[in-house]
């Protein structure tokens, strides 16, 4: 029956009248209503067979909605808590120098001023232990916003004040553990004696800081001044924080503009409460994108489940479709009916996912509020949820239109066939075009909504390539099975036949398992490489220690001291200052558009040096190195990748602010730098004489060629005892600190990848379940023809084993290739194949395929032949 406006009675009595009545709906809307009515009738039998369809969509959409909701909640939290995180309405940070009296007076005139100094130093205990600490020296106004939590009921001022000439401090628990101390113990920092009066539970402005290489030591400003650490050129940051009487955005902007206008060469980094932790926000956005891509991968794998479910549904409805057509329904109308059904079911799945995703920030805030040191402000985020819903529906359509298009051409003769020949034909052009359009829309959405479009484009390309490659692998596998020589063993022969038969599980298993496994292998390989990079053995000839804040006069003494204790060690020293890039080619730094790989250079102050000769670990790439005796206008040597990222070339002018002075220099050459050597490397190297007269310190590395058995802890103790103003950074400790953060990130991505695996398992289970009816039929007929249960188990087991093995090989290869691309091209790190976890993942996938498959087979074997035959 086509959509008819003629009365059924008329149509019944006069066929020609029925034809003349042209059973066409008056409008597209009416046609949709008509299709909707039929779709509803068709769904009366329930939504059996759509569990996997709904679950796949729900899972993928939930992942994307959840990640976006959580990220939005976090961004909102960061914005809301901006002034607490920043510790002020606006902060002016200077490196290596305090504000001048004039600057200070200007700032104090704007509102309440609080000055905080941060630096790294060595803490020494009376028991001989010593360790690196992150000092925060605060004045009486600290904190302007939020509260400091100590382990005991004591005002902060009381914890930090001087008593009998001994300053007080609060320290994070890790310092007590590392130095083996308890509250009340005393330590020496530089020249200051400090009593650890309390354990620091939390500080409100911690998030705005960078990576901590040591525990926090909170002291008073007076203690810092007495420590003798504030030597000229010492790496100390002075944060001048303002609490404004009028804290409106407009006034904040006015104060900022006034500061810039009045002190254009101050070289301060100005941050307001609305960008309190820009690095953290950038990381949140970047991380959100990675997790979204993981969610999309889950959704794409789920798409295979969607296609399987739709195909299975249409197979079951084949008779109904043929009957409708026999009664006059057009192919287009049949397509409309089943498209409406799929859309309705897709909406159910996607809506379930949206619900779960929307709840995630609330759940995360409730469960992990104390564990996650981030301000999550749980709320509903309709745009994020709509985006996830859009991803879900587009995915459902991208995978469903193809099989739905085939329903258009189901012949009426299907009614006269018991079973149906495999369909190898493509659907009509309009459905192929619709599939292509929806797929492109999905890809466009993915790229347009991405934080980093380059990565999104890579993802879309890789995902498309992986789908194509997996499809080819499936076809190749079926061809190989078809053309393989007939083995003698019956089970193997039948297993091979099962792999290439029409309606075989091969494409479903290869696509779902292959994609899931490829992602898993990529994640474990990236994880393995990062761990290797940060936590495993250091590169040969990498330094073991950095000595920072070496005053010129004590550098020689330290050299002699170290040489006397460890004569085999090499001490390398270079001058070091901190500077901020102010402009390039006359363009202010804030207006430069760096590539993502070079953006870090503009984000904060950078270490700079000067040298007469090309530094060790560097290679000249372009231009000429200056004459060792050069004393002309300042020249600069720039790291080549950074230069490319900032679109700079030899001959361009750069201006760098060092200690409140702008120094302009012409780029004389570009260098390749081997960062992995962990030696002293700088992005900016100036010609000698550029900083003559400027206060500066030296940085030194200590390397033990060929390793050597050295008591590093004893050396740290001895150096910090003899040179209290020198900060010793153990390279292993620093790498461990970075590695720990990387590990946590990889752990989060690995956990998110579980969603992908779950999706793959769902699709695999769904595909096997869809084939169950056929398996039962086959098993019963084969038993009737003489097949024993053992032979059937062997046959099916071998089939799953062959399928799983072929897919595992491809999954490992594809995942390895993806990991290689990410590690070498995105992270620009060396790649090493880590076989263990990848092979474990492949083995797990293989086992899962065989177990999943055989669990269905055992059910099929349990069927009594007579019962099944009677019902066929």
């Amino acid at each position: 029956m086509t959509p008819a406006t003629a009365s059924p009675a008329t149509a019944q009595h006069d066929p020609s009248a029925a034809r003349a009545a042209a059973p066409r709906p008056a409008s597209t809307g009416a046609a949709m209503v008509f299709a909707l009515r039929f779709a509803g009738r068709e769904l009366r039998g329930g939504i059996r067979g759509f569990a996997v369809f709904i679950a796949c969509l729900a899972l993928g959409v939930a992942a994307i909605a959840g990640v976006h909701s959580l990220s939005e909640s976090l961004s909102e939290g960061l914005a809301r808590e901006g002034r607490t995180i920043l510790g002020a309405d606006v902060t002016f940070t200077l490196i290596q120098r305090e504000a001048s009296a004039e600057e200070r007076a200007f700032l104090a005139g704007q509102g309440t001023l609080s000055v905080v100094a941060t630096m790294r130093a060595m803490a020494r205990a009376a028991n001989g232990q010593s360790g690196l600490v992150e000092i925060k020296a605060v004045d009486g106004a600290y904190p302007l916003y939020g509260t400091v939590a100590l382990d005991r009921d004591m005002p902060l001022a009381a914890a930090l004040e001087a008593r009998d000439g001994v300053f007080g401090a609060a320290a994070e628990p890790a310092l007590f553990t590392r130095l083996g101390l308890a509250p009340g113990a005393r330590i020496t920092v530089g020249a200051a004696l400090i009593e650890l009066r309390a354990v620091l539970r939390s500080e409100p402005d911690k998030l705005a800081g960078g990576i901590a290489f040591g525990p926090r030591l909170l002291i008073g400003e007076a203690a810092l001044r007495q420590s003798a650490l504030l030597q000229p050129g010492a790496l100390v940051r002075w944060h001048h924080r303002l609490r404004l009487g009028d804290a409106s955005e407009r006034n904040i902007a006015a104060v900022t503009a006034a500061a810039r206008g009045r002190f254009p060469d101050a070289g301060w980094d100005i941050r307001t409460r609305s960008n309190a932790a820009p690095q953290l926000e950038r990381n949140v956005e970047r991380f959100t994108q990675y997790l979204t891509l993981v969610g999309l991968t889950a959704l794409l794998i789920g798409g295979v489940g969607v296609a399987n479910a739709v195909r299975g549904h249409l197979d079951r409805k084949r008779d109904a479709i043929a009957t409708l057509k026999a009664l006059g329904a057009t192919g287009g109308f049949v397509f409309a009916i089943y498209s409406v059904q799929v859309l309705l079911l897709g909406l159910i799945g996607a809506a379930a996912g949206v619900g779960i995703g929307a709840a995630l920030p609330f759940v995360a805030a409730a469960l992990f509020e104390t564990a996650i040191p981030l301000p999550i402000a749980p709320a509903l985020h309709p745009p994020a949820l709509a985006l996830a819903l859009g991803y879900g529906l587009l995915t459902a359509l991208a995978f469903a239109i193809w099989p739905l298009g085939r329903a258009h051409d189901v012949p009426v003769s299907a009614l006269f066939r018991d079973t149906v020949a495999p369909e190898r034909k493509w659907p009509r052009r309009r459905y192929v075009a619709a599939t292509a359009t929806v797929t492109l829309m999905l890809a466009a959405l993915c790229v347009l909504m991405a934080y980093d479009r380059r990565i999104a484009v890579i993802f879309v390309t890789v995902a498309g390539g992986a789908f194509g490659a997996l499809w080819l692998v499936a076809m190749l596998l079926m061809q190989l099975a078809r053309r393989a020589p007939r083995p003698r063993a019956t089970a193997l022969r039948m297993a091979l036949a099962n792999i290439h038969r029409p309606g075989a599980l091969t494409p479903s298993v290869v696509l779902s398992l292959g994609l899931g496994l490829a992602l898993l292998v990529a994640v474990v390989e990236i994880d393995g490489n990062l761990r290797r990079q940060f936590l495993a053995a250091l590169p040969e000839n990498a330094p073991s220690f950095y000595f920072v804040d070496l005053q010129a006069e004590e550098a020689d003494a330290l050299s002699a001291f170290v040489r006397a204790r460890v004569p085999q060690a090499q001490l390398e020293r270079v001058p070091m200052l901190r500077g901020r890039l102010v402009s390039a080619r006359g363009v202010p730094a804030e207006e430069l558009r760096p590539s993502p790989a070079a953006a870090w250079v503009l984000q904060s102050d950078r270490g700079i040096t000067y040298a007469a000769e090309l530094p060790r670990g560097s290679r000249l790439a372009e231009g000429e190195w200056w004459d060792p005796g050069y004393r002309g206008p300042p020249l600069i040597s720039l790291e080549k990748k950074v230069a490319e990222g900032l679109s700079l070339k030899v001959g361009d002018m750069l201006t760098v602010n060092v200690l409140g002075r702008n120094i302009s220099a012409r780029i004389a050459n570009l260098r390749h730098v081997d960062w992995q050597s962990l030696g002293i490397n700088f992005v900016f190297v100036f010609s000698p004489g550029a900083f003559e007269g400027a206060p500066q310190t030296e940085i030194a590395t200590l390397t033990f060629p060929g390793g050597g058995d050295v008591d590093e802890a004893a050396l740290v103790r001895a150096v910090s005892e003899a040179f209290p103003g020198v900060t010793t950074v153990r390279v292993k400790d620093a790498l461990e600190a970075v590695g720990q953060i990387v590990s946590n990130l990889v752990l989060a991505i690995s956990s998110a990848s579980l969603v992908v695996l779950l999706s793959a398992a769902l699709v695999l289970g769904g595909a096997l379940a869809a084939g169950h009816r056929h398996r039962v039929y086959d098993a019963v007929i084969l038993k009737t023809l003489g097949a024993t249960r053992a032979r059937l188990v062997a046959t099916y087991g071998l089939e799953y084993l062959l399928l799983g093995a072929a897919t595992a090989i491809f999954g490992v290869a594809a995942g390895g290739a993806a990991a290689w691309i990410v590690v070498t091209k995105v992270m620009t790190l060396p790649f090493t194949w880590v076989p263990g976890p990848a092979l474990l993942a492949a083995g797990g996938a293989l086992l899962a395929t065989v177990c999943f498959g055989l669990s269905g087979t055992f059910l099929a074997l349990g069927q009594k032949p007579a019962t099944v035959l009677r019902n066929l």
Partner: protein
Amino acid sequence: MGRTAAIMLAGVNLSLGRGAAKVHILKDITLNIGRGEAVGLVGPSGSGKSTLLMVMAGLERPDTGTVTVAGHELNSMDEDALARFRGRHVGIVFQSFHLIPTMTALENVATPLELAGISDAHARARAELESVGLAGRLHHYPAELSGGEQQRVALARAHACNPAILMADEPTGNLDETTGQHIIELLFAAHKARGTTMVLVTHDSALAERCDRIVRLRSGRIDGETAGGGARQ
């Protein structure tokens, strides 16, 4: 009868279902079928003909009584032993053909040969298909074949292992008269040429008449038997 028994049933009873839905299908069936004999099982719908055939093929276990086929007592066999027994001794033709839809005609016929471990399974399957006139349909899937062709594939499959016993359950039930007639001719020609014992379940009295003996069932009991036209020839 004058022939050694190929099938012996003694006191066979079978019920299906449970509780209130339990139905006593076969009631105290005792029946011997001689080697090479063709027996037609006739009776109204629900009389137990097909169930009796399934008991003979080892596809259904009786509640009581003994079933001995080709010298093997089926009662004591487990499921796998029964499968092996069928593979060696029994060929079955179903009303609905029961071909495996994802296998070509050749693969369908080769399957019992492969299960029996016969090395030239495909060559023999090809010969069987040629003998039923399907040389040109070897690589067609069941859905690409007509009903008559599908039943001929099923017939070739049933004969592939040269079983001593052929059982056919309404083999023409899903076919038109002409096609059905052709299948019957093939069935009886093979029975004659191969000397198989044949048990034929049918509603068609004319078809039953071509057997050596006709056994009538009513409400699960043997209601009588008569000699068929085959015996009189």
